[in-house]
Symmetry: C2
Subunit: 352 residues, 2 copies
Amino acid sequence: MVEKKGQALNERSLLLLKSLIERYIHDGQPVGSRVLSKDPALNLSPATIRNVMADLEDLGLIHSPHTSAGRVPTVSGYRLFVDSLLTVKPLEISELNLIQSSLVAKHDINQSIGVASKLLSDLTRMTGVVTLPKRELVSLRHIEFLPLSNTRVLVILVTNEQEVHNKIIHTSREFSPSELQQISNYINTMYSGRSLAAVKKAVIEELKVAQERMNQAMLDVVQMAKLALDQDENSEDCVISGETNLMGFSELSDIDRLKQLFDAFSQKHNVIHLLDQCLNAEGVQIFIGEESGYQPFNHCSLVTSSYSIDDEVVGVLAVIGPTRMAYEKVIPFVELTAKLLGAALNPKTLAP
Amino acid sequence: MVEKKGQALNERSLLLLKSLIERYIHDGQPVGSRVLSKDPALNLSPATIRNVMADLEDLGLIHSPHTSAGRVPTVSGYRLFVDSLLTVKPLEISELNLIQSSLVAKHDINQSIGVASKLLSDLTRMTGVVTLPKRELVSLRHIEFLPLSNTRVLVILVTNEQEVHNKIIHTSREFSPSELQQISNYINTMYSGRSLAAVKKAVIEELKVAQERMNQAMLDVVQMAKLALDQDENSEDCVISGETNLMGFSELSDIDRLKQLFDAFSQKHNVIHLLDQCLNAEGVQIFIGEESGYQPFNHCSLVTSSYSIDDEVVGVLAVIGPTRMAYEKVIPFVELTAKLLGAALNPKTLAP
DNA sequence: GTTAGCACTCTGCTTTATAGAGTGCTAATA
DNA sequence: TATTAGCACTCTATAAAGCAGAGTGCTAAC
């Protein structure tokens, strides 16, 4: 038995680990050999179980808070569990219906995002986050310039049927309403239908050409377009709901830890940065405890999934909760919500 | 002494109450007769102080957590304190400068509100709230309609130089761009410069007239205007910052209480409703403990002030913290912030 | 009216005792 | 050789007991 240390685990050890973690997730208390011995799937005596547990502890998969206290999973233990041991549980019909009906209802983008975030938090009783669709990836439908006072111009940017942005830019000189009209006409005919990223790229290209050719009219157009497309920094990039749900969990009941967590939620940019990493990965991705690399989430897990509009990944959503969460339910739930949110945002699937 | 019960308090008792509350606010622990006897302003023996404290307790101004524990102020005690005993402390120059410079900087309305809220929370190390200016009270500068698909129309509403709203409305029939142009021209010439409330009233009046005279063109105009002006329900009406600051206070360290408090913050509408009550009152208003009548705030105090643009009250700001807060500093601070926020939002004081 | 003195009460902390849970090790068993 | 029963041991959690300290209310003296 001692020689086995560090070697691959056999079937029985894995089954035992699975059983232990399931039990711990359910009860929230360190699991001892006695309770596990009653699991009919194992059918082992407490003594044998203790031997196996000692092996698992040597491998760093479980850990004993103190001598007389059963075992709890470590991060590595959870990792192994979600990667290869987990039996995902199909969603209940009622939940499925709720998600479907909530997201299908007529909403603009922001409302849909809000609904999704609230669904995530309400149904899991944890915290839900949804990032807004990356602006560069949606396409330009229509742009409009309205003169305000002096050199200030209001830009209205319609990205698809549902979504309208507005912002104020400061131009280098004063433009007349008809000039502005001309400029927007030009941009609309040239670029509408293309993605904002593509438009931005094209505009920068045009800028060079216009400068070379000393084409003032063209220069006005592209400079204006550039100003209009430049990112606004302080835009709210994600919607978080159900923060207070996390206050109920005993593993997060430490007030300092909670403060860090809630500070993180109100800062947002760190959360966004973390989620942005998932933009590339398709499907569900999980961060357990310190795996997120973000200290306030050390005692939390994130179950994330990117979501796509028309097969293009545009955003990420996630459920945040204590490491001890019902992964087998949360994972399929996050997966489905991502899928349905993507569908709900797709202009093609919307009634005109 | 016994006959005095229920009668007006003499000078000395009030001075003692003041001293006691100041001490309690400073230390956060029940104040006993021994410590108060060392206050040179009182110059009384512990025994005498105990007698006076017994009177104050009979009057419900202070309260003893248990037999051997000094006294703490009750809500009535705090009330008397802030109403008649408090010596407000002038702001420090550095704070004054910070507020001034932060608010004077060029911002649009939303940014100014955010800055004010953050100032309130940062400088008090408690929670800051600022309601957005009541929309009815600002005046219409410009309105514009852009056709989207079918019967959907994008409304751009410019209320003053800094502020732009946009929303989508559904019209009864399809309008051509030129029709929309005509309609907006008409509304702009007729109503711009008037307050939104006045415009709304006038529109409803016109609606009747147009219906009577069967004037279809006019009917189109006013119906469109009405749709454009109707309130959007789910608009975010206030900005809260520094929620997590409240996690540091021992009197709020109960996790259930905190949960209630944070739920209240994320719901917002109850907070807004509470603050709306202060719209009528000029100057600083204070709610201590249960006085707010809103259960989650039972262990908190609110120091509120309305703020005005051009002598017209348009919104409210507040600091929320534990009942045991440094009122003498918070009050002048809230007062000043309200004044400077109002000035910062006044278009007349802004550079064109 | 004010104050010193004193018995009394209540908290908060430390100490001690006890029951219970769970372990690791050893020796017996299949 | 793998499994199991048995047992001494460790650690926690909880309650009970003891004790110092803070503060009070009351009485009697000033």
